[in-house]
Symmetry: C2
Subunit: 137 residues, 2 copies
């Protein structure tokens, strides 16, 4: 099932991916809602190699991430200078409800990108982390 | 299956979504690869209400989009001023191989975000278009 690497892109190793993830604040969560794919932007933080973000109770995103395997993507693309990278995290989403992890997650600088009560803390453990960077040419 | 709108977000109608799509150049394609979700950034253009982007033959993205229903997301988020919007397009991906549509698609300013030969033109017809905007508060 091996596939040739995408031409013009180089792989980024896991450590570098996690470092890049730490440097950004907005990513996109891809989920499946009733067999239809959807993508939502979220503010996020990192906690023990898990991506953590807030959702509001009763929202589409909140329903979609419940115990689902989700993809989370962060990128930085400069279209003018033709530079950029993209990091993809895939893992099961779980709600953080209590305990010391909750306390620590509560202290992440997670400003929700929309207002409103976004009280649920969701963690996506970085089970699969891959990254690609544009090769300068 | 109606659900309360997400608090702090207002819906954007289809016409406005298409207008917003015209004003950006990089979006994210969400696909499923062997039951695992993935997200790829792409440069794109609009053609007859379809999102058009290039893929390279043999790439993961190229394989994933073949006759699949994909989600395509574009956003503009200002974390400092807490403003932003997100538009989501869902539709079947088809390759544009020839004919007048191919000619026109070839003239879209589709600079691939990575170098290399990205010769396949893929269109995602905007079958479902939804958008959300942060409500100023």
């Amino acid at each position: 099932m091996s596939r040739a690497p995408d031409e013009g892109l180089e792989e980024i190793d896991r450590d570098e991916c996690l470092r890049l993830l730490m440097g950004r604040g907005v990513g996109r969560v891809a989920v499946t809602i009733g067999a239809v794919p959807a993508v939502f932007p979220v503010n996020y933080g990192l906690l023990d190699e898990a991506v953590v973000f807030r959702t509001g109770a009763g929202t589409k995103l909140d329903a979609a991430v419940r115990h689902a395997v989700v993809a989370f993507e962060v990128d930085e693309i400069d279209t003018l200078y033709h530079e950029g990278w993209s990091v993809l995290v895939v893992g099961r989403a779980v709600e953080i409800t209590d305990g010391p992890t909750f306390e620590r997650a509560e202290h992440l600088p997670l400003r929700p990108w929309a207002g409103g009560a976004r009280t649920h803390l969701v963690a996506v453990r970085a089970e699969i982390v891959t990254g690609r960077r544009i090769v300068p040419h």
